[in-house]
């Protein structure tokens, strides 16, 4: 219940802020859409068609009350319902982000385990170095390097563009391969380090000594006790990251020409399509809040001492 109130407050705040910032920004959307030489009558007609001639607070409440019922208004440029445009783009971003998270975790979790399994080994040093490297290399650079190698040089994968699932699974997967790997790389380093650092702490816990005292194998102890006891921070970071990326993996989507949410937002800003930008921000905020909720639920599943709402007992 408390959560629901929180959700309403956050979304209310976000909607108000984006609305104000976008609408108080200088620049006339009409000019942007119709061109600099548009006659004044046309501009006037545009303004009244989209209700821009009304007072600010009237427009805000109009937008919000529409949003509550799922109506995010219509695009200034295409006259399409904003919600429809967004829903068209969501699966594209979602697929890439989810695949990237899965890929990043598939590498990070074993990598972190390897680090605590063989501390001070060449394996740990290699993992550490690559984790550090992927954190320090900017995303766009990684993207260009990948394109250069796999698209230009080897010619295995398309450099840019997106093929919908309806055009065939293989084509679809080929088209998202590079952006997915780019995103996964940028997460891999962070996830590995977060998880490793927690596992090193957990390793010091008395219950891990108890586990060794039972005569369990190293492997079982690392997975059942150390890994299981070290997932909270990782879950938090993954949740936050997902939220951020769903709001638009802007750079990646732009470089690879992926028609996702990030690109939609950039286009909307460039064209001063206020309704689209407002809609995307609101959607991103919702995704963020919902993901946090999911993270909280995962907490209680991961640690029985935590009750929904966040406090940990004894």
């Amino acid at each position: 219940m408390q959560r629901v109130v929180q959700l309403v407050v956050v979304l209310g705040g976000v909607s108000l802020l984006t609305f104000l910032i976008l609408n108080l920004l200088p620049g006339d959307p009409g000019l942007a859409v119709l061109g600099d030489n548009a006659p004044p009558e046309a501009l006037e007609a545009f303004r009244s068609q989209h209700g821009l001639d009304r007072a600010l607070h009237v427009r805000y409440f109009d937008w919000v009350s529409g949003a509550v019922t799922g109506d995010l208004g219509t695009s200034f440029r295409t006259d399409q319902p904003v919600l429809e445009t967004i829903l068209d783009r969501v699966p594209v971003s979602l697929q890439i982000v989810v695949f990237a998270q899965i890929l990043a975790l598939l590498i990070s979790v074993p990598a972190a385990i390897a680090c605590v399994w063989k501390p001070r080994s060449w394996l740990e040093r290699t993992i550490n170095t690559s984790a550090f490297a992927t954190i320090s290399v900017p995303n766009f650079l990684a993207a260009y390097v990948l394109i250069l190698i796999f698209a230009v040089h080897l010619g295995w994968l398309p450099a840019t563009g997106f093929s919908r699932l309806s055009n065939g699974v293989v084509e679809n997967l080929r088209s998202i391969a590079l952006p997915t790997v780019t995103l996964a790389l940028s997460q891999f380093g962070i996830y590995t380090r977060v998880l490793r650092s927690d596992m090193v702490d957990t390793l010091e816990q008395d219950y891990v000594t108890t586990a060794y005292g039972k005569g369990l194998t190293n492997r079982r102890i690392l997975v059942r006790h150390v890994l299981r006891g070290s997932l909270l921070s990782l879950v938090t970071v993954v949740g936050v990251n997902m939220g951020v990326l769903l709001g638009g993996a802007v750079i990646t989507e732009t470089i690879f020409a992926i028609p996702g949410i990030g690109r939609l937002m950039i286009e909307g800003i460039a064209q001063r399509d206020l309704m689209v930008v407002q809609g995307v921000v609101l959607l991103a905020a919702t995704a963020y809040v919902v993901l946090n909720l999911i993270v909280d639920v995962l907490y209680t599943a991961l640690d029985p001492r935590i009750e929904l709402g966040g406090q940990r007992r004894a």
Partner: protein
């Protein structure tokens, strides 16, 4: 008190001779154990008594091979269980011994148990480690059986709980059940009641005593309370600053305490005849700093019988039968001028 076994009637299954444990820490080397020697016969119960920091837990962990490999340096003339040299047994063998032959009960059951794993699973895992082929059903029967054995009522329901949902006494019973899981020959109980309510302490100690006798296990009962050791052991070794300083059969020790430190520990035992609310006397003074031990006898600074030689030369070991102690006590008379 248990009937005391004469030392020759049992064969020693555990032998510790001149055990040293150093910790290499960033701020220097810490000598936690410096020459502890004792042995344990099968079915026998040995008390190791000493105040906080005297190296009791480190000694226990050294036997189990549970000290952190990165910082702890363990040396000994002998550290043997049965035929196994515990100092350089391969990891595979140590794994079989841990839990399977030598099991441990820890000081603080809340921290010894995994907070996010059901207690039943934690017991099951201890059985499985040594009997991997056990079927699921058999396994859960065994778990419930163990919980019954440590007198946990409603075992069927309790196995599904997490440690924080149990009381301190129940948690320690779970830890004991875990230790018994693979029928070990030796139980090392490291201050099993220190973190518990006074009312539960006696229950747990009685339980341990009964289990030890029923199962014919050897037991090392580590405690800082000479009174606790008196009730549950055949022999006692008193430890101070990482060394054994006096050792005797329990009966002999209480008849004739030779080392002043043992006497001081004895005087700090809580007694029934004390007026209610009176403060417990603990051993006066502070323990020595294990990273910088003084020359001579480590207890000298706190000993009111100390004479000059105690500060310069380590005391000799005196021995009468199986009773031994380290002290310059025969110098006393000479020093009184």
């Amino acid at each position: 008190m248990h009937s005391s076994l004469s030392p020759s009637s049992v064969t020693d299954i555990l032998e510790v001779d001149d055990l040293h444990v150093d910790f290499e820490l960033p701020r220097g080397r810490l000598h936690a154990v410096r020459g502890a020697s004792f042995s344990l016969g099968s079915g026998e119960s040995l008390g190791i008594v000493g105040e906080s920091g005297s190296g009791k837990s480190v000694t226990s962990r050294a036997i189990m091979g549970l000290l952190p490999a990165t910082t702890a340096r363990v040396k000994a003339r002998t550290l043997r269980y049965g035929q196994h040299d515990l100092l350089d047994a391969p990891e595979r063998v140590m794994r079989r011994l841990r839990g399977g032959e030598i099991a441990m009960i820890y000081q603080d059951p809340m921290r010894a148990l995994n907070p996010i794993m059901r207690v039943g699973d934690q017991v099951a895992e201890a059985i499985r480690a040594h009997e991997p082929s056990l079927g699921r059903k058999e396994l859960s029967t065994r778990v419930v059986g163990l919980l019954d054995a440590v007198r946990i009522p409603d075992a069927n329901k309790r196995i599904r709980l997490y440690p924080h949902q149990l009381s301190g006494g129940m948690r320690q019973r779970i830890v004991i059940a875990m230790a018994l899981a693979a029928n070990p020959s030796i139980l090392i109980a490291d201050e099993p009641t220190t973190s518990l309510d006074v009312t539960v302490q006696a229950e747990i100690l009685d339980l341990l005593g009964d289990l030890q006798e029923e199962r014919g296990m050897g037991m090392i009962l580590v405690t800082h309370d000479l009174g606790v050791a008196a009730w549950h052991t055949n022999r006692i070794m008193v430890m101070y600053a990482g060394r054994g300083v006096e050792h005797a059969t329990t009966a002999d020790l209480f008849e004739d305490m030779r080392m002043p430190y043992t006497r001081a520990l004895f005087d700090s035992i809580p007694r029934v005849d004390m007026p209610p609310g009176s403060l417990l006397k603990s051993v006066e003074g502070r323990p020595v700093d294990p990273s910088n031990p003084p020359p001579g006898c480590a207890f000298r600074e706190r000993c009111h019988l100390a004479v000059e030689i105690c500060g310069t030369t380590a005391p000799p070991r005196r021995q009468v039968g199986s009773h031994w102690w380290d002290c310059w006590d025969d110098q006393e008379e000479k020093s009184v001028k």
